[in-house]
């Protein structure tokens, strides 16, 4: 399994990050980019379902949920530690 590294999948609840790179080769990822998950966007992890997957993110005040494996396509620089 691919590691979470410094991707969206590694954010903790309440933690924010700015997307710095998107691995856009997958059409499903391109669809997420159309929904606003692009480089430069600030994202916060709001919660997750049982087992930590799928995850719910806040993006400019609106909720968007994606699976961990999709979240791994988005590299982020974390802004602050969550708890």
């Amino acid at each position: 399994m691919k590691g979470n590294g410094n991707t969206l999948a590694a954010l903790k609840r309440g933690q924010k990050g700015i997307i710095s790179f998107v691995d856009a080769s997958d059409p499903q990822v391109q669809r997420l980019m159309v929904l606003g998950l692009v480089e430069g966007a600030e994202v916060e992890l709001a919660g997750s379902a049982l087992g930590g997957d799928p995850m719910e993110f806040r993006l400019f005040g609106c909720g968007i949920s994606l699976r961990q494996e999709q979240a791994r396509h988005f590299t982020v620089s974390a802004l602050e530690a969550g708890g």
């Binding site: 669809r31 400019f60 949920s65 699976r67």
Partner: protein, 705 residues
């Protein structure tokens, strides 16, 4: 050009009917408050119809002043002009004037959620390139204000080519009159230019447009540039002149390089949106409200999952408990009407057609209406409050295990009332493979038409003994519900591993904040769905009722022993009717299952609509019209083969229950599968597959138990 079928919901003013001077498309992302605003603007001046050839509903309303009428078309929600689901495709086809039977709109009302300008402005940029007058309605302005979001609409308008922006609150009516005034002459207003987001793309589109043989908006040409010449875009490419393909390729290389074009578009457009937002929108301070608190609480995995199951338990309780009194009322109403009709019209074919065919047949549909209305009411409330999206999110992991995604949970839940609306609810599933797998799993869910069959057989043949603190009858009923769920899940798994093998379904879902549903919108949706159910199922079942009646009535025998009771005469007539003959003809096929010709003919009669089986059994076992279920179950227990063996033994009953749990005996479901999948292939497969499983299951139960 085919004219779409339309039914008028209401006419408020029939004397002053003028042709609308313009049509305005209402466009917005899902959850932008679009439908609530549409209802607020048009009130009851709406028509609901279908786009020809597709099952997505078309809502058209009118807006008028003293001397003008304009028409509003409420389009399905879409995030942008590249389609990712069936519904989005329809919205885009209408906007581009590609939808048969629908004129391209003259102007556009863009609905943008004030609390979600980020995504809203992505769509607005693309709408400005359609080269039609545009006005923006900023919905949920009250929520935005409460959150401390301060939006400078004048400055925003400057960034959007100077178009009008109107802040509204659809629930209270704030700003609605101002918006009406803007809409009434919108079509005559100047066409705005594109935003400054991506001048290179607009310039390329303009250059290509110069050689176009028909007028094309730059938005259409941009779709060819970004999405490529696929599907409907091919037609646009053909209109761009002889060497268009090479020129488009050249522009694509310049604009996108090696990056995926759609990713490029998202990057560029959202970059522009962020810059605009930084200028026009004050950043909101931390925001606390009861909605946000519930949301935060339910974001935790365990409370969220428990909450979901609790809500579903309440819904099922309501569907079965609240509907019963009304269902009993309809049942006895139909019985009274039926016997009154036969009393008045006397004996004869016509009287029998009205009483046994039409009243009993249509009554058997109407009886499910209360359950369906209650279930729909809950589903609409859950959907409008933002709960269903959350259910899909919470259940995604479990659904993934069977090769589906969380989005399949909503159609599955709906199918417990009726598979027809359940299958229609699959339209939001973007991937076609997932959608078809969900459509094939949906009819396995125990629908309200299976319930009376289960109830009859269980009451008659399963002893009411206690198993621990549980009742055995209740346990068997629960087991049948579980059997349906497992059957559906295994079917989905099987089909995703074989015919519909493909990459794992994606899952991306917008999770709206919890909000209070708007009563008017809920009631209008409820009426729309109830009407569609009554019309569609009603027409099919009506035809079936007449057909089954005719098969059971003709040919008439004249040499029946006059000493027999009325009920025995009816049974003898049935035995030599076409239906009885068919039952005898297929008896050898069903004998290994332990069914005699009577059961077989009832089962055959039930193929178009499974609930018919009870009415037919009532007649076959010679109980007559006044049959209530207690007498029918007594008769079933007394039924024997010619050699005196009982027909309804426990293994045979278990087999019959399994058969009903599986078999796809519902013409309405088959028709809706055909419409939604666009051909007979999948309904035919579903029918053969489910009937085979039912037959084999019943055979194994009878032979092995």
């Amino acid at each position: 050009m085919a004219k779409p079928a339309e039914t008028r919901v209401s006419i408020t003013d029939i004397s002053v009917r003028r042709q609308p001077s313009a049509s305005i498309a209402v466009v917005g992302s899902p959850n932008s408050g679009k439908s609530t605003l549409f209802n607020r603007l048009t009130g009851l001046r709406q028509r609901i119809g279908n786009y020809p050839g597709v099952t997505v509903e078309r809502h058209i309303g009118t807006l008028k002043t003293d001397d003008r009428v304009v028409e509003l078309i409420d389009l399905p929600g879409t995030h942008g002009l590249s389609a990712h689901s069936y519904e989005e495709q329809i919205a885009i086809d209408v906007l581009f004037g590609r939808m048969e039977g629908t004129q391209p709109p003259d102007a556009i009302l863009a609905v943008v959620d004030a609390t979600n300008l980020y995504q809203g402005l992505y769509l607005v940029q693309q709408l400005l390139e359609l080269e039609r007058p545009v006005v923006i309605a900023l919905t949920m302005s009250d929520v935005a204000r409460a959150r401390g979001l301060d939006i400078d609409t004048d400055l925003l308008s400057e960034h959007l080519s100077g178009i009008d922006i109107c802040s509204v609150v659809a629930t209270t009516g704030e700003g609605i009159n101002q918006l009406r005034n803007l809409l009434i002459d919108l079509a005559e207003r100047p066409v705005p230019g594109p935003t400054s987001a991506w001048p290179e793309l607009a310039a390329a589109a303009h250059e290509l447009a110069e050689s176009a043989t028909v007028p094309l908006s730059i938005a259409e040409i941009e779709r060819v540039l970004v999405d490529g010449a696929t599907g409907a875009n091919k037609h646009v490419l053909d209109c761009l002149g002889p060497d268009a393909a090479t020129r488009v390729e050249h522009f694509r290389d310049d604009l996108f390089g090696l990056d995926p074009p759609l990713a490029c578009e998202a990057r560029v457009r959202y970059h522009w949106v962020r810059e605009v937002l930084a200028e026009v929108q004050q950043k909101a301070p931390p925001f606390y409200s009861w909605r946000a608190r519930i949301g935060t609480f339910l974001n935790r995995p365990v409370p969220g999952t428990i909450g979901l199951f609790l809500v579903m338990a309440i819904v099922f309780q309501a569907v079965f408990a609240w509907a019963t009194p009304v269902m009993d009322l309809i049942d006895s109403g139909a019985a009274v009407l039926g016997s009154a009709t036969s009393a008045r019209l006397g004996d004869g074919a016509f009287s029998s057609l009205i009483a046994d065919g039409i009243i009993a047949g249509v009554g058997s549909v109407l009886i499910f209406l209360p359950q369906i209305i209650i279930l729909f009411l809950f589903i609409i409330l859950l959907e409008d409050s933002g709960f269903l999206a959350r259910a899909a999110y919470l259940m995604d992991r479990a659904m993934r295990a069977v090769g589906l995604s969380g989005q399949s949970i909503i159609p599955m839940i709906s199918s417990f009332a009726c598979a027809v609306p359940g299958i229609m609810a699959t339209r939001v599933i973007p991937n076609r493979r997932d959608r078809i797998a969900t459509i094939l799993a949906a009819p396995f869910m125990t629908c309200s038409a299976r319930l009376p069959v289960y109830a009859l057989l269980i009451a008659a043949f399963v002893p009411a003994t206690k198993v621990g603190f549980l009742n055995l009858q209740g346990l068997v009923l629960f087991g049948l519900y579980m059997f349906g769920i497992v059957g559906g899940v295994l079917t989905a798994l099987l089909i995703r591993k074989t015919a519909l093998r493909g990459p794992k379904p994606s899952f991306a879902l917008m999770l709206p904040e919890f909000r209070r549903p708007n009563i008017q919108t809920v009631l209008m949706q409820l009426w729309g769905r109830a009407r569609v159910f009554l019309y569609r199922a009603g027409t099919v079942i009506f035809a079936v009722a007449v057909l089954v009646w005719a098969l059971a009535y003709y040919p008439r025998a004249t040499d029946i022993d006059p000493l027999l009771t009325e009920n025995e005469v009816a049974a003898a007539q049935l035995e030599q009717s076409w239906l009885g003959r068919a039952g005898k003809f297929v008896e050898p096929a069903f004998e290994p299952l332990g069914w005699d010709w009577r059961v077989s003919s009832a089962v055959i009669a039930g193929f178009p609509a499974r609930e018919v089986v009870i009415a037919v059994m009532g007649t076959v076992y010679a109980v007559g019209d006044e049959a209530d279920e207690a007498t029918l179950s007594k008769r079933l227990r007394a039924a024997t083969w010619p050699d005196g063996r009982a027909v309804f033994t426990l293994p045979m009953v278990i087999g019959l229950l399994i058969f009903y749990a599986c078999c796809l005996q519902c013409a309405a479901t088959l028709a809706v599968i055909r419409r939604e999948t666009g051909g007979w292939r999948w309904p035919a497969f579903a029918w053969v597959y489910m009937t085979t499983i039912g037959y084999v299951g019943a055979l194994l139960a009878f032979q092995l138990l």
